[in-house]
């Protein structure tokens, strides 16, 4: 059964099965939008947490680090309650839409970008910022310099955040509703097809998820260039 399903999965991938590719495109579109919307505020907050000293700063950092591992289904439940008809944002009628999925995935991605971005800025330390400023760089130029300095760390943060949201089921299932052609994405489709005993599409989508993870990691390595061997 496994070999038959795998062969069928490969056939679907190679022949460009329209239903399969529609699911893949929905996944990439929703998770891509969620990530893009999180990146600017996430970087800005990570930077402020690294370079601005204010009471409770450490507590905020710990909070974001904790939120990194919050179960997706808890976020899904929270967004569901907020968007449901009797919830505070019920009038927006966003439940079971791609927008609701984007919002939920943003809540998952944002803490990862902030926490890992914060670690990246911490690695550069205060000296990077001060050196740029003391050499005469404006605040904006110094910020751009620092972004360049910590680019690898930030890319790791984006890759980790994307990896988390592209493969999560909890939020997508609860607030997306798994509607075919609209909110059905890779993880919800895998869950549904597997429960029906239709493994071919599930395997094909699983292969796509693995390929996405592989692409992310390969691009990270290419971006970092040749690393020295630690001896």
């Amino acid at each position: 059964m496994i070999s038959g399903a795998t062969a069928e999965a490969l056939r679907m991938l190679v022949t460009g099965d329209p239903a399969l590719w529609e699911i893949i495109m929905i996944s990439l579109s929703v998770s891509g939008r969620a990530l893009l919307l999180c990146v600017p505020p996430g970087i800005a907050l990570a930077f402020l947490l690294s370079y601005l000293d204010f009471p409770g700063r450490r507590l905020v950092v710990v909070m974001f680090q904790t939120l990194m591992s919050i179960p997706a289904v808890v976020v899904g439940l929270t967004v569901y309650l907020m968007l449901s008809r009797h919830g505070p944002f019920g009038d927006l009628k966003l439940l079971f839409s791609q927008t609701a999925m984007v919002v939920g995935q943003m809540l998952l991605a944002f803490p990862i970008i902030v926490a890992l971005g914060y670690s990246a800025f911490q690695a550069a330390g205060r000296r990077g910022w001060e050196t740029a400023r003391t050499l005469g760089a404006s605040r904006l130029r110094a910020f751009r310099t620092l972004l360049h300095e910590v680019r690898f760390g930030l890319f790791v943060a984006f890759a980790a955040a994307f990896g988390r949201i592209i493969s999560e089921v909890g939020v997508s299932m609860m607030v997306g509703g798994n509607i075919l052609g609209y909110t059905r994405n890779i993880p919800t489709a895998i869950a549904l097809e597997s429960s029906k005993g239709e493994f071919a599409q599930g395997i094909a989508l699983g292969i796509v998820l693995i390929l996405i993870a592989l692409t992310l990691n390969l691009s990270l390595h290419l971006f970092q260039g040749r690393e020295p061997v630690i001896v």
């Binding site: 330390g125 000296r127 990077g128 001060e130 050196t131 740029a132 400023r133 003391t134 050499l135 005469g136 760089a137 404006s138 130029r141 310099t145 360049h148 300095e149």
Partner: protein
């Protein structure tokens, strides 16, 4: 000339600087010595406009203002070098060009300054090297060259020769004295005065939060931090 008066700084209950005053005169080399933890770096960072004092007055262009009001002007007129210099990722050339670029120096003037710095600091064979792969002494040399490229009024050096042997220290000091323009003031802090005080116009000792001038005739008998200095 920049005149600092009544600089006060406490960390908790500990008084680091108490009513410290200092005059920075164009073209003069001021050496500030003191034991580890005596507050030399704190003082230097206050002079650079990087760290906030509890109270301080600054006289710039004949007008006495608070440190806070003078902060921008201090940052514009000074360049501060960390004890462990921060070098941006990229080559030695990239680091030098950065200092010119952020100050809007381009074209023929940029080339002139770059060539002069490369000659003065013996960087011609290092230009293509990864800045972070340089030895400690070479990194200090590059950081000093980069700072001098911006032609600051005041160069603030935090223990630049701390990890150098006697020969490297002598070479560094020779470059420092001969490379800067004639009107550039230098303030250097160090816990170790070997080879430094012979070249300075003023020598101060920071001890018990107070700055005390060591006159040339006193230098042989100068003691600080409980240690007699043997030359």
């Amino acid at each position: 000339m920049i005149r600092f008066v009544e600089i006060h700084k406490r960390f908790g209950r500990r008084e680091i600087l108490a009513d410290v005053g200092l005059e920075i005169v164009p073209g003069e080399f001021t050496l500030i010595t003191g034991a580890n933890g005596s507050g030399k770096t704190t003082l230097l960072r206050i002079l650079a406009g990087l760290d906030r004092p509890d109270r301080a007055g600054v006289m710039l262009v004949g007008q006495m203002r608070s440190w806070r009001e003078s902060r921008k002007a201090l940052r514009r007129r000074t360049v501060y070098l960390h004890q462990r210099p921060y070098l941006f990722s990229g080559s030695v050339r990239d680091n030098l060009r950065y200092a010119l670029s952020v100050n809007g120096v381009r074209g023929r003037e940029a080339r002139r300054r770059l060539d002069a710095a490369v000659d003065s600091f013996f960087l011609d064979t290092l230009l293509a090297r990864d800045a972070r792969s340089l030895s400690g002494g070479e990194q200090q040399r590059l950081a000093l060259a980069r700072a001098c490229l911006t032609e600051p009024e005041v160069l603030l050096l935090d223990e630049p020769t701390a990890n150098m042997d006697a020969a490297s220290r002598a070479q560094f000091m020779s470059m420092l004295v001969h490379s800067g323009n004639r009107n550039q003031a230098v303030v250097l802090v160090s816990h170790d005065i070997a080879g430094l005080d012979l070249r300075c116009d003023h020598h101060f000792d920071l001890h018990d939060a107070k700055l005390r001038e060591i006159l040339p005739e006193q230098r042989d008998r100068h003691a600080y931090g409980g240690l007699k200095v043997v030359k």
